[in-house]
């Protein structure tokens, strides 16, 4: 068992040693990034953070020079116009903060940022991780704050309000208000209905009965016409689209009970015989609203928090003009602008290379994990990262019309054609509603011929008695239990049809890069030659690679101790530099040996190989080590795939990467159905084809290129490392890298289905039993109320069994 990093709780690589004394004890760290953050925290006197926090922090990315430059760009006044308000020298803005894992993170950030000079106020909202910042521009700059946040291991970027976010905020406020009104009215109504329940004909004067009823009516009216409005509107929509859901019986129950009680209050004599149901209406609405609110909260919580990060396209661009270099907000880029893209930056728009030569990491767009060569005339896609040299591109599109945006636009269409999962509850509800309405009509007609005065009361008592409380609770309570259980394991269920779709799945499709595999190059083996020491060769390699932004470099990050000098990059071949007085080369074989034939025996298997050589005094390069790098499988991929196959679910791989690497992975996992080198359109087509064969398809993916296919599949699951737009458009998000949770989720879905069925049988059985009794006028009101609560309680307890 490895020792875990004190800061981020990840395993410490063997041979790495970084120690800091915190709270009187020596603590170990996994990388210099974590150590630097811990030092910042301790030097600020905030080491209590480590006692307060309830979850480990996220592993920090190192901040490159170009990222620092980008942060400094935010000090530009013209850029700030978009998001900063300045009044009397005090500037105000909102920031999105990323990587917050628990409440102690917020405490740490608030303490540290507020202690900076010139900061008036800095406070973070725990729910959406948005910070309100006001500062004195003369004393402090925005970039100072952003850099400080980065130094503590978090991310920050200016937050831009848009219509959708503003709408979401208003929606949340109004639903809280709806709940508040329903809650207050429920309490008041209970107070006034208690004497009516307990009192007898002799102990309570009829004038007071009338008073209590009228007061209850007043209290209940805003509940029905304000709090319950979402249900009523949904029910109207159901009728218009002829698609019956639970909203219709819920609205019917609310309206029927309210109308009946109002009728009794206004017209009937003030006797205790006929009962009013105002308290039930208010309470029913209150609990339903509360349930929906919690559901909405959990959906928004995880999806909102990091939603403003890892944006696909950068917010700023550097443009070369006749007068020199200027920086521009990305949305002002026009076709034909000449953009400068430095190493490590993301291209803000599509373009053609005008000058320079480099490589671009296109993994997010294509699934290919090795960077692609770009020379003069090559097409660069917006949203891909430059990993080597500065180049100039002439834009061929605005950011809005780039390839990335086009893929995102495919979303809407794919989503529109997504097969709908008809929920069990809705099917049952539509039959049930139809049944109740028909029996009420029949009973009404029947009574019309026997005793016309009794029609109204009988029909109403049928509608009230069959109030589908328990039925409407059957599905949501079971769903909530399973969702809570799965969330504690690390799978966030975002949409309500997910569990039902899981239990029907016949085919599951995995993306390769970043889903079945880790999605980044990792050192898979090291061979040493000529008596070299393994850990020393790793240190040298890390020292050289620290100058590179190539994805290969990140594989050596763990071994980094100090930087090498005089590092030169030979594009496409490797790096050369000196470390502790000696000169080294790191790159492909012919580069490392300076085109001399290799003397040592070298084995080449799958993956990327790079070689380290040392320049001896005789000006000869001698080979020291061979590093094999590959995109390795996730630990649990194999067991996850095997478990699905054992369940009888077909497993497919659908990847944008080359056939070779896809085959290599498929062989290890024993997957027969593979499709390689697929464009987003082809992926979507593949899923469509399967769905036309009546297969129920689930898709697991992470990249932008998976986005259309994720929204086209019946069920979509995004990996935690996926871009935010991908997560937002998926039905479920895997929050950690444990693939086996998917198996667990599919099993839980089956169990949930069983419990839901039991609940429905019970709820409907009870209602069916009461219906004829009510139609004959045999059910006393107090018994109906008691039975209704009892049957709902049974449903709730049955659902709670799912939590274990």
């Amino acid at each position: 068992m490895h020792v875990k990093c004190y800061h981020c709780d990840e395993a410490i690589p063997r041979g790495f040693n970084a120690v800091l004394t915190i709270l009187g004890e020596d603590k170990k760290f996994c990388c210099y990034g974590c150590l630097a953050i811990a030092e910042t925290i301790v030097s600020g006197g905030l080491e209590n953070f480590y006692q307060h926090r309830t979850k480990a922090s996220e592993k920090p990315d190192s901040l490159s020079q170009s990222q620092q430059d980008e942060i400094h760009l935010y000090d530009d006044k013209t850029l700030q116009e978009d998001f900063v308000e300045t009044i009397d020298g005090i500037s105000e803005t909102h920031l999105s903060i990323g990587s917050i894992t628990c409440a102690a993170c917020i405490w740490l950030l608030e303490r540290e940022i507020n202690s900076l000079d010139g900061i008036k106020q800095f406070s973070i909202n725990h729910t959406n991780h948005r910070a309100a910042l006001s500062w004195n521009d003369a004393q402090c700059s925005l970039s100072t704050v952003l850099l400080k946040v980065r130094k503590l291991g978090y991310k920050a970027r200016p937050y831009q309000d848009d219509l959708v976010k503003r709408q979401a905020k208003l929606d949340k406020r109004i639903s809280i208000f709806r709940i508040a009104v329903a809650g207050i009215a429920t309490m008041q109504n209970m107070m006034f209905s208690l004497p009516l329940y307990l009192g007898s004909e002799s102990s309570i004067d009829s004038e007071f009965v009338a008073l209590f009823r009228w007061v209850s009516l007043i209290m209940c009216t805003p509940v029905v016409f304000f709090s319950a409005l979402p249900f009523l509107k949904a029910a109207l929509r159901d009728i218009r689209t002829r698609h019956l859901t639970m909203d219709l019986p819920v609205s019917l129950a609310i309206l029927a009970a309210y109308t009946a009680s109002t009728y009794i209050t206004v017209f009937s004599s003030s006797h205790l015989e006929s009962d009013v149901y105002f308290d039930s209406v208010a309470m029913f609405t209150f609990f339903l609203l509360l349930g929906r609110f919690f559901e909405m909260q959990t959906r928004h919580k995880h999806l909102n928090s990091d939603a403003d990060f890892n944006q696909l396209l950068p917010a700023t661009a550097r443009v070369k003009t006749a007068d020199g270099e200027i920086s521009k907000p990305a949305h002002k880029i026009e076709v034909g602008d000449i953009l400068i893209i430095n190493q490590g930056e993301i291209a803000p728009a599509d373009g053609i290379v005008l000058e320079g030569q480099s490589r671009f990491d296109e993994s997010a767009l294509t699934g290919e994990f090795l960077p692609i060569n770009k020379t003069i005339g090559s097409v660069v896609n917006g949203g891909t990262a430059n990993v080597e040299n500065t180049i100039l591109i002439a834009t061929t599109s605005t950011p809005k019309h780039s390839r990335v945006s086009a893929i995102i636009r495919m979303l809407d269409q794919a989503h529109h054609e997504k097969p709908q999962t008809v929920q069990l509850a809705d099917i049952v509800a539509s039959y049930f509603v139809a049944f109740v309405l028909i029996s009420a009509t029949i009973a009404g007609v029947f009574w019309y011929f026997i005793e016309p005065e009794a029609v109204f009361t009988t029909v109403l008592s049928i509608l009230v008695v069959t109030c589908p409380c328990a039925l409407s609770l059957a599905t949501p309570t079971a769903m909530t239990s399973v969702n809570t259980f799965l969330r504690s394991k690390g799978l966030l269920i975002a949409k309500s049809h997910t569990l039902e779709a899981m239990s029907n799945t016949t085919d599951i499709i995995f993306d390769k890069t970043g889903t079945l595999t880790e999605g980044k190059l990792q050192l898979s083996s090291t061979n040493t030659f000529n008596g070299a020491n393994k850990s020393i060769t790793l240190t040298i390699a890390a020292a050289l690679e620290s100058h590179s932004r190539h994805p290969i470099a990140s594989a050596f990050k763990h071994y980094f101790k100090e930087s090498a000098n005089k590092v030169e990059t030979t594009l496409g071949y490797g790096l050369q530099g000196s470390f502790e007085g000696k000169s080294y080369r790191l790159g492909n074989l012919s580069f490392a040996l300076n085109n001399t034939p290799a003397k040592d025996k070298i084995s080449e298997s799958h993956g990327v190989h790079i070689f380290l050589s040392e320049l001896s005094e005789s000006k000869q390069y001698t080979l020291l080590a061979q590093f094999e790098l590959s995109d390795t499988l996730r630990e649990e991929s194999l067991s996850c795939v095997k478990a699905f196959q054992a369940q009888g679910i077909q497993v497919h791989i659908l990847s944008g990467d080359h056939l070779n690497s896809v085959q290599h992975i498929a062989q290890q996992l024993g997957i027969k159905h593979i499709q390689a080198a697929q464009s987003p359109e082809q992926k979507l087509y593949y899923v469509r084809k399967l769905q036309q064969e009546n297969k129920e398809v689930a898709m697991v993916g992470d990249g932008i290129n998976d986005l259309p296919v994720l929204s086209g599949a019946r069920l979509s699951i995004a990996m935690g490392g996926a871009s935010d737009i991908t997560k937002l458009n998926s039905d479920a998000v895997l929050l950690n890298s444990h693939m086996s949770i998917l198996n667990l989720a599919f099993q839980s879905a089956d169990r949930a289905r069983k419990i839901i069925k039991q609940n429905m049988v019970w709820a409907i059985g009870y209602n069916l039993l009461m219906l004829p009794l009510a139609a004959m006028g045999l059910v006393p009101p107090y018994f109906a109320a008691l039975g209704m609560s009892l049957s709902s309680l049974i449903v709730v307890f049955n659902s709670l069994r799912l939590k274990s």
Binding site: H52, W107, N125, K169, I184, Q188, F208, M219
Partner: protein
């Protein structure tokens, strides 16, 4: 018991007032963060203010930097 005819309308007025206050608080953004306050109260740096055996604080409370 006739007093109820006066008291109950008064109580309705109170309830209406309470709902109005609630609406004002919601619009004022006081319910935008439903979790934060529950946590932040626990994070006070009061280690140096906890009294020692003689019942005196170890040091004087320092200025809280989160307060402007």
């Amino acid at each position: 018991m006739e007093i109820l005819f006066i008291l109950i309308p008064i109580s309705i007025a109170f309830v209406a007032f309470a709902i109005w206050i609630f609406g004002w608080a919601i619009n004022n953004g006081q319910y935008d963060d439903l979790e934060g306050p529950a946590h932040s109260i626990l994070f006070d740096d009061d280690a140096d203010m906890v009294p020692d055996r003689n019942g005196k604080p170890k040091t004087k409370p320092t200025k809280d930097p989160t307060q402007p």
